[in-house]
């Protein structure tokens, strides 16, 4: 790795990322420049502090969780590949991609993977179930401090009651998928209208 100023993304890297994530050339370049602008330490990786420096993220109720989602299990640094891999979840769903290579793993931006990403944001302890407490934490983050615990509790209870089909008072991934079916999952897509810099 060289100094940040002269560290350009090599063509092979771009190709690799393109194949893995499906982003286009211009999108990768643009996101790379964003990556480097966030990387104040100039070491080619981002730490949690780099993310927290983004002002809007600080006031986002889910800010911390989103940041955590970028970092693989137990690590504190994320490189550009990892950055792109997480962002790839938010590309628009392309149906023809599935037909091209049925034996390959599902693309990162498939519907299931998008939902899985969202699910993991709820499910912090990675036990593949959203428990009442985890739900309460998310609700608490979203509604702020003025609402009493009891009321949040009743909302959480109601939510679980609606979604829970096997009666374990937790929401599993399948139940999560079914409960969100009315929500148009195409929402989970950031349309990156990019200009060639």
């Amino acid at each position: 790795m060289g100094s940040r100023a002269s560290r350009l993304l090599r063509e092979e890297e771009i190709e690799e990322i393109k194949k893995e994530t499906g982003f286009s050339h211009s999108q990768i370049t643009r996101l790379y420049s964003r990556f480097t602008s966030l990387d104040k330490g100039e070491n080619g990786t981002l730490s949690r502090e780099d993310f927290q420096r983004i002002p809007e993220l600080a006031i986002n109720p889910l800010g911390d969780r989103i940041i955590n989602a970028f970092f693989p299990e137990g690590e504190d640094q994320v490189n550009f590949r990892g950055f792109m891999r997480t962002l790839a979840h938010f590309r628009p769903i392309e149906d023809n991609e599935k037909n091209k290579n049925p034996s390959a793993t599902e693309p990162l931006n498939s519907r299931t993977n998008k939902l899985l990403f969202a699910f993991r944001l709820y499910d912090l302890d990675r036990d593949d179930k959203i428990s009442r407490d985890e739900l309460l934490q998310v609700l608490r983050m979203m509604v702020g401090v003025n609402i009493s615990d009891e009321q949040l509790g009743s909302i959480a209870d109601r939510t679980i009651q609606e979604a829970d089909t096997n009666g374990d008072s937790c929401i599993s991934f399948n139940e999560f998928i079914k409960a969100s079916f009315v929500v148009n999952i195409h929402i989970c897509t950031v349309v990156l209208v990019l200009v060639n810099i």
Binding site: N60, V138, M142, N146, E150, I155, V182, I187
Partner: protein
């Protein structure tokens, strides 16, 4: 001569649903007789216009007789004076006719399934007009443009705007705007231009058609090209199409008003002056923005005013709905003063004021607003279609085969090409692409209606000698779209298996998840440094929360997060359903914090119903519980009533609800104690209501007597809740007006997203 048919029809209380066919037939016969009589009255009344002297002389004679012989003449016990009440009488008669027609259609079996209501109403109008003409009288010019634009149209638009589903509308705003603006422009120029070409080329130079100038044709094109919201509403309401298509076509019909207004005035002025310059064309473009944005601005201003006013209405709840209607109407009229788009002003006003007004007003005012809007818009719509029928008979007509057929064909072709072409471009920018089926429905749903006719009616005869040809063509197009397209769209929707409206109500899961995704996507956009759709929406929400809500919402409700408000609304609705269905098994729910209890009026939360069936108690146990509770509840209620007067601000109109509310509050406190006392590790779902009452008893009597033993299964404790629910049923029934039609889901969750 002075015959007057008083309303000899028995009111419809003689008819009950499901009554024997004879009663139904009798009612229909009465409707027909009434129809005849009302028509004759109207005919007589309109003839009065031509022979006012007769009536006057009648009146004179009567008074003369009265004043002449003061001594001998008897005091007229029964006098006749129709002239005084003529106008209101006629108006009432028309409205009554419209309403009876609406009733009648639904009594005739199968008719409303095949033929959309709008068609039937036009036929009725034709009949009425025909009958009037048949009796030799001239048909009154009922579809007066002033009446239409200032009286009949606003309720429909306000109803649409107030209950506009904001979220789908905003998400598809780009698409809607492109269809409305570019699509209408394309239609106008295509139809106008080609029509001119046909007129010039296709006919002989001596024919009347060749004298129609290009500008007139373009004006005609702009009148005929606008999709009509009234017609779209009338037809689409019955086919229950999926939300996306509905909002696309409907939104287009609303927003193209700005384009129509600009084009209409532009071409009208050009035809008057006769010269077209580039500067004028450029000014026309600018005026479009002024008209559209100005209209929206006016609407937003009045909306904010209305919201602000509603903040102070906590002591005069009765007139709350009036503010909503008045401010909206003023917005419409103010926009019309400046030739801005009144429709857009009305939509903007309704959509802007709604979240704040709903947070401020009482539940009953909310119901009042909903029902008045629905009632007025329904009556308006009915009247518009009937009047269209009557106006068709009234004429004046000038049928020109070439012009009319070419117009109809061109309209269809232009619509199809426009939709297909625009979709091709739009799909490049949409996440959810529009399929061919969608395009077909959008194209097919481009109905024309009374707005086009009224605009044509407004044309002055001296500027437009071909006015009658235009009117005839407009009416033909309207008839074609409403009858042919209106009748066939339902079977086509079935045939093409277009996705229907999802009947599922918005659940709390969906709401949470939607908000969750919003936050998530905003965060991702921020990480990417991309200022997209979510970023700005989030900024707007923050601004709204921080500043706007504080100004416009009274009291503590201003701090209420959207999720909580949604939850309350949902619980409230379920409570109402519960009461209506006669009580059921419920789970206890926690109460809101003391903070929001200050403001009881809007939504005192009540217990939600359990979604799943919980095992029923046996009959004997039920009886036992009921007996025990009956004694306890009365005691509790009396105690609570004394609290009511002194401690909390109680709305005299909602004492029933606040009573229930207080009872729940009490129970919640007890529940809290129970949760702490029972060191039970079970989930709170299994908290035992019976235990609570046991505790309540303990508290009240300071003794162990009447302590209820909880039954073995924890969940059975929910049954007692039913008891007091049943007791309060009557009170609730009185206080809550009936929620009525299931059009509820359309209006839900449309808070400022």
């Amino acid at each position: 001569q002075g015959r007057l048919y008083f309303s000899a029809i028995m009111p419809s209380r003689t008819v009950s649903h499901g009554s024997s066919g004879r009663l139904r037939g009798l009612f229909l016969v009465m409707v027909l007789v009434f129809l005849e009589s009302s028509v004759f009255t109207l005919a007589f009344a309109s003839s009065d216009q031509h022979s006012p002297t007769t009536a006057h002389s009648d009146g004179h004679k009567a008074t003369d007789h009265g004043s002449h012989n003061n001594t001998g003449k008897a005091f007229p016990v029964l006098d006749l004076n129709y002239e005084n009440v003529r106008v209101p009488f006629e108006i009432s008669l028309w409205v009554l006719l419209a309403s009876l027609m609406k009733l009648g259609f639904h009594l005739v079996p199968h008719l409303s399934n095949i033929v959309p209501e709008s068609c039937l109403l036009i036929v009725v109008g034709l009949l009425v007009g025909g009958i009037i003409r048949g009796t030799g009288e001239t048909v009154p010019p009922v579809l007066d443009s002033k009446l239409f634009f200032y009286i009949l149209l606003p309720p429909i638009i306000l109803d649409a705007g107030y209950f506009l589903p904001i979220r789908p509308f905003m998400e598809n705003l780009g698409t809607i705007l492109i269809f409305a603006v570019v699509g209408t422009l394309w239609n106008a120029f295509f139809v106008g231009g080609l029509l001119y070409g046909v007129c010039q080329i296709g006919t002989e130079s001596s024919s009347i058609l060749s004298r129609i100038g290009l500008l007139q044709c373009l004006l005609f094109g702009s009148i005929i090209s606008a999709v009509d919201p009234v017609a779209v509403l009338a037809v689409f309401e019955e086919i229950h199409i999926n939300e996306l298509l509905h909002i696309l076509v409907f939104g287009e019909s609303l927003l193209n008003d700005a384009v129509t207004v600009v084009l209409y005035h532009l071409f009208e002025e050009f035809s008057g002056i006769g010269t077209v310059t580039l500067v004028k064309g450029f000014l026309g473009v600018i005026s479009f923005f002024v008209v559209a944005l100005g209209g929206v601005l006016v609407g937003v201003l009045y909306g904010i005013l209305a919201a602000f006013t509603s903040r102070f209405t906590s002591h005069t709840r009765v007139i709350e709905p009036l503010f909503v209607f008045l401010y909206s109407y003023m917005a419409y009229l103010s926009a019309e003063i400046f030739h801005l788009s009144g429709i857009m002003a009305l939509i903007a006003c309704g959509a802007v004021m709604r979240p704040y007004v709903e947070a401020n007003i009482s539940h009953k005012s909310h119901t009042t607003i909903k029902y008045f809007l629905k009632m007025w818009s329904s009556v308006s719509e009915t009247l518009i279609f009937i009047f269209l029928g009557v106006a068709t008979v009234a004429g004046p007509h000038d049928w020109n085969w070439t012009f009319v057929t070419v117009t109809v064909i061109l309209c269809l072709v232009a619509r199809v090409i426009g939709v297909v072409g625009l979709t091709f471009i739009i799909n490049k920018f949409r996440i959810v692409k529009l399929t061919t089926k969608d395009q077909f429905i959008i194209a097919y749903g481009g109905l024309r209606g009374a707005i086009a006719f009224s605009l044509g009616f407004l044309l002055e005869k001296d500027h437009f000698p071909e006015r009658e040809i235009f009117l005839t063509a407009i009416i033909t197009v309207i008839f074609f779209t409403v009858f042919v397209q209106g009748m066939t769209i339902k079977p086509l929707v079935e045939l093409l298996a277009v996705k229907k409206k999802q009947e599922a109500k918005r659940s709390i899961n969906e709401e949470i998840h939607t908000q969750f995704l919003d936050h998530l996507l905003t965060g991702i956009e921020d990480i990417c440094g991309h200022y997209g759709h979510h970023h700005w929406k989030d900024k707007l929400n923050r601004f709204n929360k921080k500043y706007v809500k504080k100004c416009l919402i009274a009291g503590e409700r201003s701090k209420e997060p959207q999720l909580i408000a949604f939850y309350h609304k949902m619980e409230m609705k379920q409570a109402i359903q519960l009461v209506e269905s006669g009580g059921g098994i419920k789970l206890p729910s926690a109460m809101p914090s003391t903070v929001s209890m200050q403001n009881i009026q809007p939504r005192p939360p009540t217990k939600p119903a359990a979604e799943r069936a919980i095992p029923q108690l046996s009959k004997t146990k039920e009886e036992e519980i009921r007996k025990i509770l009956r004694t306890n509840l009365q005691r509790t209620r009396q105690r609570l009533r004394s609290y009511n007067r002194h401690t909390l601000v109680a709305d005299p109109y909602e004492d029933g609800l606040s009573d229930l509310f207080l009872k729940k509050q009490k129970m919640f406190q007890i529940e809290k104690k129970v949760i702490f006392n029972l060191a039970s590790p079970q989930s709170p779902d299994s908290v035992n209501l019976l235990d609570e009452f046991g505790q309540a008893n303990q508290q009240e009597e300071e003794e162990q007597g009447l302590m209820m033993k909880p039954p073995s299964r924890p969940r059975e404790g929910k049954k007692p809740g039913e008891e007091d629910e049943a007791k309060d049923q009557q009170k609730l029934m009185r206080c809550l007006s009936d929620p009525g039609p299931s059009a509820d889901e359309d209006e839900d969750g449309a808070f400022l997203p």
